[in-house]
Point group: D2
Chain length 179, copies 4
């Protein structure tokens, strides 16, 4: 998952306090798989950011971030999509509040296959259709769109860490596009 | 569910043949709950047609129709949305091919609470966001939009038959808007 | 939601620390709707505890509790089911890790309809089939089973707080048993 | 999908009539992925039959069959599980009536990746926990249980046809066990 954007998220919690809480409690995250669709709802492309992942490597990953105190999950989803995809992305937040899957990130990645060295995070994962123009924010080096076939290719999987490749295959399965 | 639009659906099956098949096999239907949403995906309005229902009464009901031989469920959803809501409705077919619920219509409505005197229909039901301009087609007398509170009001429930009111409450529950 | 069972959950976090974290972060909860089913999967009964709710009243409510640091959601579900329903309940944890809905509890209950005066909790809600013998634990005064019709009756709704009645209607809708 | 068991399913429809209907209408099917689970709901094994598939080959496949006129989907699921897994299988039909995915089988398999030379079938697919003793029925040569890793192995994929291997990967993704 992404590094936290300290400028917007943490005004209410100092880095030290966040560090301490992370050692004691699971943290609520949202993740969004940005997709382009055709007229009958088939996913044609998946958008991936190129940026620093939780483990410090430069990786391909989806939109993600914390839910803050007092914030609804829907609002967190919109906020992180706009933060990561730019103000003109026009993300379509799903009507169903339930995530299509959850990803449980642990410092010990062997527990679930999802790994985050910083914390235990319970991530609610959604598919988000994106209609507008996307641009990588300053934190990201790139934002690129891939077909379902490319998502499961060895070349792209090698650019992902922490279980993101597996999460994307689960997303493709959910939308009926797992090759 | 709607009367079949014989002009477009049945060119490949005569009314007599359809009658005979209906007595022998469950028929595959799709139904779509047309919704308007706000920027964070909350359903604000549900669209209902006013037209002749399967039992012959003039009722409020959602988009519905058969899946024809050789047609994908996605394509049937789009076709029926365009047929019932007009060519400018811009329906957004969901990315997940699984319906959020199924409704099993029987000539004996007591079996499941869903009633269709003509047939045993297995209906795959979807929430469909509609962004564009909707207009009732020639088969419908009206198309109107209602809030979640209105959908569960006694006045509107009295205008629905065959279990449509209950199906709408299930839809509202699914999107987190059941009052 | 239930009072936290401090004997088992909080050995790693003092009441003061928990208080402080609750003021800063959303807390991850799981909730389980205990159900009895017939041979074809129809829900016939829903189990409700009678105990002190988050708002201090004695209420009817479902199984709930926090996910602790390092614990998988599945394990938290099993732990809380065993804690609230007794060691012989034989709860069947769902195969799908995604909850059927989420409930977002806020100190301000008007935001979502789900209210918890102590905290902002993001609750992952599951249906859990229970085959075995259930008995209320020492924290609960009673454990009783109700039909879907009883769950939506005015008499029982009056015994629930914090939005539990609405959450149960969403659960009934999900399993096709909303009256 | 399986050959139809004409002795039980077709008393109401002659083979000729079935042939004719199949040329005109999509047919409603149910499919069940039989699974063994551990105490916290993790799928540990998937059961596959070895029998004649729709394309005439001897293949590994899951439980499947038609929904007949007047029959509820739940009842069809139970009937086919008992038919294919034996009378002591004790299948647990899911509480949610919605399938976790649908598989659309066409004579032209390129349309969706799901292929059935005999018909256009719309299949509602469910995960079914099986607690009891299973035995292959007379129509099947074998019934064997495989781990998630084995399900996605090249050796086993080579024994499946019609898209069953892909359907199983979608099932594994749904339960959080896709390797």
């Amino acid at each position: 998952m992404n590094e936290i954007d300290t400028s917007t998220d943490n005004t209410w919690l100092s880095p030290d306090d966040l560090e301490q809480v992370r050692a004691q409690m699971p943290i609520v995250y949202v993740e969004a798989v940005p997709v382009r669709v055709d007229a009958v709802g088939n996913v044609t492309k998946i958008g991936l950011l190129l940026r620093q992942a939780a483990d410090g490597t430069i990786s391909r990953l989806i939109v993600s971030g914390r839910v803050i105190h007092g914030e609804r999950v829907r609002d967190a989803l919109l906020r992180h999509c706009e933060k990561d995809l730019g103000p003109l992305a026009l993300p379509r937040i799903p009507v169903n509040p339930a995530p299509f899957t959850i990803a449980e990130y642990f410092p010990n990645g062997e527990l679930t296959g999802f790994h985050d060295p910083r914390q235990h995070a319970v991530s609610l994962v959604y598919i988000v259709q994106v209609d507008g123009e996307c641009e990588p924010t300053q934190e990201a080096l790139d934002l690129a769109w891939f077909t379902p076939d490319e998502i499961v290719s060895a070349g792209l999987i090698a650019q992902m860490t922490g279980g993101q490749d597996r999460l994307l295959r689960v997303a493709l399965a959910h939308v009926g596009q797992l090759p």
